[in-house]
Structure formats: C-alpha cells, structure tokens
Amino acid sequence: MKIAKSQLFSLRSFTLISATVWTLFSSIFSGLSQNGEELFNTHCATCHKILDNSTGPKLQGVRKKWADGGAAEATLYQWVKNWQVAAASDPYAKSVSEWSPTAMSVFGFLKDEEITAIFDYADNYTPPAAAVSVAGDGAVAGPTEEKSNNWVWIILAIVFSGVILAVGGVRRQLRFAVEETETGAAKNRSYGDEIREFVYKNKIAVGLGTVVVLLILLVNGYFALNEIGVYHNYQPSQPIAFPHSIHAGINGIDCKYCHNSVEKSKSAGIPSVNVCMNCHKGIQGNTDAQKVQIAKIYKAAGYDPEGAGKYTGKSEPIIWNKVHVLPDHVYFNHQQHVVVGGLDCKQCHGDMTKETTARVVPVEELSKIEGNIPLTRATLTMGWCIECHGTKEVSAGTLNALNSGYYDEIHRRLSKHGKSLYQKMLADEKITVKELGGWECAKCHY
C-alpha cells in the first residue's frame, strides 16, 4: 500500500513539475490563456498533456475532435464536469470513455467559461522554440571515464631505450676502434665486464644508491599495495545517464521508492525496469537529451510509447556498472544499518540529490554531511567500516525506542552479569558498536 501511495504522489508531482516547466516558457500568451494556463496546470496537468497523449488524451484540438466525432459542444463540457453523465447520453462520449481503462476525475465545479479558457489555452499553445537550458535538464554529461595513456609512455620509453642503446653501442664500438688503433690491441670487453668494473670503482656510491632505490621501491610498494581495491570517487560510466539530482533532488522521490529492498534485504536493490516505468510511462522527457535516455528505458521494458502506449513483450535487462563494489569475502547488510541502525542513505552514499550517476563519495565529503561521524579512512575500505563501528554509539536508550527491543536484552545481560565489563565499556560514557562485537571478524567475513 505504501508503495502505491508514494507512486501516485511521485507521478503527480512529476507531471506537475513538467507542467511548471512549460509555464515558464509560455508566458508569451494572452491574459485569457494566462487564466487557462493556470486552470490547466491546477486541474488537468496531472493526467493530460497538451501535445501528447498521457494518462488522458492530448488536449490540443479536442473541441474539433469532438465536433468531428458528431458530439455537441455541450456534451464535451458535460464530459469535463462529469464524464459518466456525458457517456450515458452521447455515443461519441461513450466511445471516448473506452479510450483508456483509467477513469477521469469529476470537475463539476468548473464553470463553462473556465473550461473554454482551458481549451483556448490548449489550442493556442505552441511548444517553446528551443529548449534552452531548463532547470532539471536531463542531458547529464555522461560520467567520463579516465582513460589511461600509459601505453603512449611505454612506447616512447621503448623507442628512447632503443635509441639510447643503439647510440651507446655505436659509441662503444667507436671507442674500441679508437683504443685498438691507439694501443694496437683489441680490448673487446663485454657490457658485463664494463659494468663490473664501474661498480668496483664506485663501490660506495653504487651500494648507497642501491639501498636508496630499494627503499624507495619498498616504501612506494607498500603504499601502492595499500591502495589496491580502494575506490576514490569511483564513478563508472553507466548505460543510462541517470540523474539522481532530478529524481531524488528536484522531484524529491524517496530513495526507498526505487531502492526498495533496502529495508528488507542485505542489498538495497537496483530498481527493476518496471519501477522506472511507473512514472516514465507518462514522462517521456522534455529535451532531446532526456528523450534519448528515457528511450533506453522503453527499450529495456519493451514499451512502445507511441499512441496510447503498449508493451511489446521484447524486454532486455539494463546492464549497469556496479559502483559500490565490496570484495566477495565481505558480507554487508543494508537492513541491519538502515532499519536497525537507523542510518540515512546519505550518511554513506552522500547527498544524492546533488549527484548524477552514482559514485563512491570520498570520505572527506561524507564527513561534512550533517550528523555524520567524521571519518578518515577511504570510503568502502575496511578501515572506514571499523572506524565508524568504533565510534557509533549503541548505548541503552540511544536507538529508536521501536528498534531497541533486542539491544535492551543485551544491555540487561551486561548490566546484570557483566557489571565490571559494562563499567569498563562505559568508561567513555558510551557503548559503541565495537564494544558489542562490531569489530569481530565473523560479523562481516564468513
């Protein structure tokens, strides 16, 4: 039921917003249609669009359509006020009632001149000539992937090394030739002999140099190994340039509407295409860039948006690139953190209302989020997890009263049977996740 409600809400708000967008760009119209515009936005825009079919049919030219269909204009007005009355009396109205299974709301309070104003507005409406940068433009620049140009350097290195070796070889041969002509004896020493000779001559320098180089390698190697599997700002390209900023930001859709298993399961869930279609069946995008992206959803869902829209049955899943990747030997459970721990999504994922596609938000940014414990280790590393577990408080009474039934018993056992330990834990006046076992290996690794 919950979902159904929020679904309705988001659908409506979404349409309202797109209508508002139009409002901005249709201010060129006259006072009458100004009135019509207001009325349209207030009463009609939830289900109707002017130029396209939506939940209800498009409104431009509707009077002509009805007249062509043989219906009196009065019937159309009757239809708007109460469609059932109209459908009962007029055959054309009856045929219109079969256009969609969704029934139209009753607008008995609208006066005839108001209805006329709406139709006038609809008929005179022209779309804005060019959709210049609209607030909420869906054309999000696809996240760029950093391309490695190491190969250029490697090729250059090989070329230069080749050149150096060749030149060096020539020089060496020349030297030998000079020596031979000078001393009369050939001294064809190998490279090895030369190097050995050089090392022997510069024992101390070479020794020290070797130690330094080794140390540099070791230190850097150590740091390099520490960086394996650490994702700084990782934001892979995605098949659809999904703007969280529009969905969660401008439209204010709750994260849990799409990531709906976050409270039920270990995985938050990437929404299946049918969830997208709940809204995007009606919302096809305002700009070309948006339309291109939304068309990808239609392709995945096997939906043909033309006409009243229908499913072709030829669906294909969207293959996303996983952003928050944990190694396979780590067990993480969203339900534990969101439901029991009462964490908000943004505490680990950052403020998605300002993001486009998902990325691993660096810890520095996370620490600035209100209510967050400032952490230092990189996001999604084990250090990050245990740092939080070491600080986060789960003392008696700190959890939401609704969630604390389990912890009450744990605190009761502690205070009853493990007084000294409990006192020790409470030395800093709080019990942390760590103190209840949140740093133990088999809490996450099994």
Binding site: S148, N220, V230, S267, V275, W320, S404, G418, L436
Partner: protein
Amino acid sequence: MSMFENNKSIEKMNTNEAYFESRVDMSAPSLSVDEFLADEQTRESSTNRRDFLKFLGFSVAAATVAACEAPVTKAIPYVVKPEDITPGKANWYASNYYDGNTFASIMVKTREGRPIHIKGNTDFGFGGGGISPEIAASVLSLYDNERLKAPLISGSQSTWADLDKKVMDGLKNAGEITIVSNTIISPSTQMLIAAFSEKFGRVNHIQYDAVSYAAIRSANEKTFGLAAIPSYDFSKAKTIVSVGADFLNGWLLSNAYRVQYAKNRKPENGSMSKHYQFEANMSIAGANADERMMVKPSQYAAVLAALAEEIGASTLGVSSGEFKSNAQIKAAAKDLKANKGASLVVCGANDEALQMLTNSINNTLNNYTSTINIQDDVNLFKSEDAKMERFVSDAIAGKVKGAVIFMGTNPVYTHPKGKALGEALGKMNMTISTASWNDETASKCKYVAPDHHALESWNDFAPVRSFYALAQPTIKPIHDTAAAQESLLVWMGEATRAGRESRAYYDYIRKSWAANISGRLGADANFEEIWNLAVHNGMMEGPKAEAQAPTFNAPTQVKPAQATGSGTHEVVLYTKTSMGIGLQAGNPWLQEMADPISKITWDNYITMNYQEAKDAGYNVVMDQEHGASLAKITVNGVALELPVIPTPGQAKGTLGLALGYGRGENGEAIGRGAFKTKEYGGYEEKDGKRVAIGANAFKFVNFNGNYHYTGAASLSKIEGTYPIASTQFQLTAMGRTSIVKETTLDAYQNDDSTGYNLPHMLMTHHGPEPVSKFDLWASHPVEHIGHRWALSIDLNSCIGCGTCLIACQSENNVPVVGKDEVRRGREMAWLRIDRYYKSSDELAIGTKKEEFSFTALEKNIDENPTVVFMPMLCQHCNHAPCETVCPVAATTHSNEGLNQMTYNRCIGTRYCANNCPYKVRRFNWFNYPAYKKFTEINPSQDDLGRMVLNPDVTVRTRGVMEKCSMCVQRIQEGKLKAKVDARPVVDGDVTTACADACPTQAITMGDWNDTGSGVRKASEEKRAYQALEEIGVKPNIWYQTKVRNHSNEELRKHQQAVAAKRKHDIDKHAHNHAEGHNDHH
C-alpha cells in the same frame, strides 16, 4: 505459483571465490582483534594512487599495480521483478520429493529464483518431515551438467516437435503399448495412465521397483485379504524387533521411521523403547539396536519361527531349528509379550512366507490396532515382480513387439538381466524413455523425452491413503525438458507443448484434485482454498482411517524361499544412506559422503566378518598406503571383483554388498560425479569409455516369485590390493572416557550420574575442584552476557544417517575433493560423524575394563560390537588452542562464543590444525574451484553446478584453513530478524544447517545465555558432558551420554564404584578440611 513468471535475470551476488587482501600484518600474533585493530601504528598513511603514479612514472611497479585494479563489476536488475523475490533474501517453498524409492516432504530454499538447499518440512510434512542425505543432495543433481538438455532421437539431439510426431505415429501403429514405471504414487499420474490406457486400448502397465517389497503386499493379502503395506508407527512401540529390516535406512518409509523411532529413545521422557535387531550386515538400525544378534539371511525364518513359538503365535509350519529356546530370542519374546499392543516386529526379507510369519507374530501381539495401521496403507512399493520378470524374459526373447515406455525406471541397470534387456531394447524400434539422464536404459531407447528434475515440476503424491502431497516447482525448467506426464498428454493428443511456460500437467493436476481429491478432504470445502493451502503447506491430510485389527487367516504351511545356487557365503545386498539405489550416482556430494558404518567414500565393497577375513588372509589393517585386498564374488554365475572390508558385526558366513554403485558401466552420461577420476584430473578411461565407480550389485538379485536381495555366494581372493578412501580407519574409542560416554537405562534411572558422567576434577588443597575452575588465560567474557551460541548433541538420538553432513556441505559451500584426496586425509567436511565400536577390552564404548591392554583395545573388537555415532565438528572452545597459536590472528574468538575463522587473513601455517584436539580444521590444499584435478567432481568448477552455492558464504581458495562456523551466516540472519522485530533472540530464530536437517532432532542449537533456551536446559541435563573436558578448552558444544536399553551388570557395577569413589574422595576431603579447621582453633 509465481514460478511461472520467474527470473529474467539475477542480480549479481557475491558468490565467487574470495581473494586476499594484501594487507596482512604479521606483527601481532597474540593480540585480540580489538587490540590488533586499535593499534594506531597500523592505521597510518593514505597516499592515493595518483600520487603514487606521479612518483614512479612509467615503471614496472606501476604496471603491476595497474594489473591489481579490480575489474568493472556488472549489476543486472530484473526487468520485471517477481513480486515474491527480494534480491538478497531467501524464499522457502514447501514441496515433496519422490524418486520411486524414497519419499519425503521437503522445504526448498531459493535465492534469486534458484534452489540452493533442501531440508525437511517439519511443520506439515509427511512423517514429521524426516529426510535423507539423498534428498538433501538432490538440489545438486538439479544442476548436473550431464542432465539431458533436449529430447533425443536415436541418441542425437532433436526437437520436441519432431519427437512428438514420430512417437505419436509409432504409438498409433504399435500393437501393444507397455509402460514400465516405478510405483506411481501420484493420483493425477494414475488417472492419466488410466486415461492413456483407455485412449490406446492396448496398454500394459507394469510397476517395477528397483528394490521390491512385493512380498509384504502378497503376504498381507494371503493372511488378511488386504494386498497392502501397512503404516507402521515406531513411536508407539515399546519393544521393536527387526529381523533383517534396516528400518532406519532404506526399508520402506524409513524417512518417517527415523523420526518416529527417535521420539521413543530419549530417557528423559521416563521410558525408552527396547530395540532388538537380528541381521547379517551391520546396518544403521543394527548399529542403534539395544540388543543385536548376528544371523544369516537363511536363518531369518527360524528366528521368526522361534519368536512365534515363544509368544504363542502360529509358526505357520516353519521350523525354529537351532533357534528353539535361544536365550536372546526368549528375551525379545518376553519383552514383546510384556508390551502387547505396544510392540512391533518387522522383517526385511522380500519373502512372502517370512512376511506371513511376521504378520502372525504381530497379530498375536495385538499390534494391528496400535503400531500397525493396515487401513491407512502405504501407496509406495507396488512392484509387480512376476509381471516385470515376464516382460524382461519376453523382451530378451524378442517377443515384445509393440511400443515400450519407461517412466522413472532404469531396469537395464537395476534388473539382474539388465544387460540382455538392454541389448534386446536396442533391437526394438519403438522404445521411449522419460529419463532425465541418458542413463543405461534411456541410451538403449530410440526416443528419450527427458523429464524435469523434481525441483522443476509440479506433481502430486499420496504416500499413504490419507495423505496428499503437492510438489511445486522452485525454478523454471533449466533445460528444454518436459514433465513425463505432459509427454503422455501430448501423445494422447490432449495437450500441446508450450516449452518452459507449459502448464499442461499443472492444469491436469488441478483438474484431478478438483475431481477426486478435494471431495475426499471435506464435502463443503472450497477448491481454491484447499489448493492454495496445499501448495503453501505442501500437503493436505484427509480423514485417517482408525487402525482396526483385520481377521488373520493363518495358512497352515508356508515355505520360505530357498536361496538359489550354492556357495561358501550368503550375500546380503543393502542400500547405503548416501547412494540408495544409485539414482544420484552422479552426485559428488553423495559419492564423497562417508558411509556411516565403514566410513568409506567413493566406493562399494564387500563387507566380511572381521575374524573370517583375518583368517582367510584378507588385509585387515588399512590406511593411506595400505589398501584393501581384492576378491572375486560369484553369485548365480555372475562374478564381480571388489575390495573386501573386514567389518565388525558382520555375521560369519555372510557378505554385505551395497546396491547403487557401478552405474554407467558403458560410460553412459549419468552425471559428472559417477566416474573414477585420475590423480591429476580427467576421467579414468577404458576402451574410450569412462570407468564406473564400484560394481553393480543388482546383478546378484535373484527372482524366485519375488526379487530377492540375498543369495548364495562364493568368494575367492585375488591378487592385488585396492586403495581405499576412508575418513576413519580407527575402530574404537581406545577406552578414552572423555570422548564417548555410555551407560544403561537402569543405571540412568536409578544410579548417581557421576558413575557414567564423571566430571573431571583436579585435586587441590581446597579439595577436588572441577577442571573448568583452572585456567592459564583470562576468561573470555561470553558467559551470561550477550549471546553464547551453543549446540547440544544427543548421542542417543543420533542414528548416524548422515543427513546433517550433506546439509552442512550444501549450506557452507564445502568443496568436493575426490577419492584421491580423501585417501590422503584431506577431506574438507566441516562436520563428520565418528563411529566407534566396542572393544572387548572395554565394558562399554569409552570405558576400559580394569584389566586391559592398550594394544588390544584397537585389535580386539567385539565380534558383535555395540556402536556409537558421534557427530564431531568445531567445538567452538572458549579457550581455543587454535586461537593462541595463529601468527596472524586469523582465528579469533567472538564475544558470542564463536571460534571465528577469517579466511582473508589466514596465511596457511596450519599451526591451528595441529593444535586442535578435535581434528576438525580443514586446510585448502588446492584451489578446488579452479584446479584441474577437481574439474570433474567439484560442482563449483561447473557453470551450472556453481548455481548451488550459497551466496552468503564465501568460497574459500587455496592456502587457507576452514572449519565449522556454527553457521554464522544463519546466526547473523537470526539476530537481524530479532533486531528488526525489536525483541530478544528466542529459540528457533537461529539454527544450524545440521540441526535443521536432523530427522531425529539430535542436535539442539541456541543461545546458552538465554536461561530458557533448549540448549541451556540440555547442557544442564545429567547426561550432558563435553568432549575432552579434562584439557580445559571449555567447548560450546555439549554431548548427551549414550543410554542403551540393555543390561550390562559389569558396566553398572563399575559405574557405581566410580560414583562411590568420587563421593568418598569428596567426603574425605571435607572431613579432613573440617578437622584441619578444628586444629587451628
């Protein structure tokens, strides 16, 4: 029901192998995790990769690090998410399993639409939801890559359209149609076959079971006028006498009998059944018996006659011969008479005369109104032996002309004349099989219309008259297969194929339930309600007929069948708990499961009396290097060469041999795990064909009115030895009191428990103190605070069946390692069942006689020893010896009492395993999910087999230790459930896979710190003890002393003396102490 709109795709879960973090710090071996992590010095520095690259420019190191970068992982959500699937959450479905030989009600765990685990349906299931290892392992067979993926015509892949057309033409023109099937217990399939017969008019349906119990039906028909197999209730029997019937493994509905039997084996309830077993092989039932007597199968008749004589029943003219006035039979008869109406006599021979004699005894004991209900009869095992034998003879003689359809049966393998039958089938042109594998019979058939796996299909079953079970699919068909019933419907012209979406048989079942079954369940019942409830619960129970004593018509003279042929020995064919009749011979979990008695994996073998084998020069000492002697066994002119395993408790003059092996003799594709593999991988091959494991003992079955599973055999030793992969070569507990504790029911009820369950005390100047008081280490703060997860294992209830072993393997992704590795002692099982025989130098298992010799303990096994099964797993010691020696703190203790194993931290020193007193740690010697040696046998090396892995448990890689985690993933899941519901954890929230699977509920799991929990109570029972208590490791596993309901005066006296001595010691000290105090004053 939602299975029709199933998964389009699955979200990627972390199912794959673990990889190691390179950040192993070796500096702090003895620190606890907390301290270890808290060390500030280990948390320094964070230079990011870009800086690093700047430092190094294009160096080799840079290239190496770049190679370490994790690849891009894909996440694929559903297009339309099925309503009942939540990624990351398991769904359980109630279903039922029937394979023609065994039936059970099951619960199937699915993750993202794929079944990964099976347990018994204990809430609603038939017979209390008991299952067997075979059933638990069947989830792996679903993912066997050798299962047929499309229909076959003459051995080559074809299409359903093509096959249907040819079969329909063939059936139209065939003279007679013979359907050979296993016993059909599906009411809908019965209806369908009747309709099929009506449609074609000339249908001859033969029901044939690989292991037949036809004699019970015919005996009941002759004595009671009812051709039925009655329902037995072992839970109501105070005295149980079994003559050659292994009712705890294989015999009839043993899955249910296990549950019933265990109910009456708990001494806490005030009473315990007394179980007498007369048998030749050491069977599972025999190993659990209170009194066991070794008799040859040819003596069964005389034993029953002697029993009948003693209790005053008609002997039906059978002579009791040498057993007249036998002391043990007299004792059994005395108990039977004392418990008239609450006793049960069963006989395992498929011999009408013996079964009539058994009926006579049960009738005199008034058992037909209590422990036996012939009105609520069993629908399984309707084998028509004579009809089948005639069909086979006719087929071999070329007299079968029309079409033959084989459904759920494989007579080329299971029939003694199978080879000739196979050749005959090859010459016929209208042979059809609905097998799921291209098995021995199917490969000889022209058409193969592959059936679904049981987990992919709808079906209904009526195991007994009053019980209706529904099997629902838990996954869409993986391959292009079709229900056998659908095939019949299509061939009748009553349905069309609809591929994986087909509802043909589903609709038919609903039709049949609407027409026949729902009416029987109540007149005013609403069909949809009944149906939905039946799907949800997996069953519907109809009105159950009250047991009424039928009138016994005693035939005056019956004649037990004589074994044909002659020989030096009598051979007894039996089924193993793992392999059964060999239906899942290709299942590597079952092949690797150690046999409960012999502890041998991957083989069948001849079991022989220990002394006899020794005298005849067979090898009696076996280990990694020394294999078993080989022998040639000949029965009715058929010879097999097999290793000989000397087995304590095997009757002299008898040999045991397991059925179900030797499948795929001609290399038929019956499953990846069914064939011998070479030391470095790949199959062993002979003449270009894969070599089967073991030998087919069905060739020894003889027909004498019924199929008989005993016979005369001659045995001759042949040259050479055969390597044996056994998980336990030791036979006894070597008189060590603190491993297994055993007492008698008398002593349990009347004597001081210190006699049989002596707590280990150390003498101090304060007097004797329990071992638990002394410690080298500061104690772990797990007692009374937080959780303390614990197990209690009842040695009385554990019957050794091994269901827990498979459940553990399935739950925890335990790899299969193959025979060669098991032989080297490298099996990976997290849970094993140790089997101990009594030595003649012991009073009971684990209790030495006053005079004993250590060398004799292991050598002098009783000829007919008592047996104890002891499940052994990580004891989760609170003072674990393994934890203190780990140099990298990879194994640590949790504040919930768990001994944690952290794979990504382990560097494989194996020091922990050396320090473990219980030998429960396993080392990953190889990368089992990738190394070529395990390609054929380890399911995780197969794209399809991998589907069975539990995504919540890491697949371990080479070089790390692993061991029982007490199913920590289930603990976390159970705790989370309680947290979400905002309540403390209660019993039932958390249970281990082994405890969940155990049909006898021998294992109790729970939170010991919860004073009301079952495990806390069990740990405070007077039977409770901890293995190797004296070494002071403080385990979190308790065992319950084995109590045997027999008389052992010597043991009792010894235990009384032990109790008296302890009392004396304590009193004496108290006295001294008091005096000491007086002196001071």
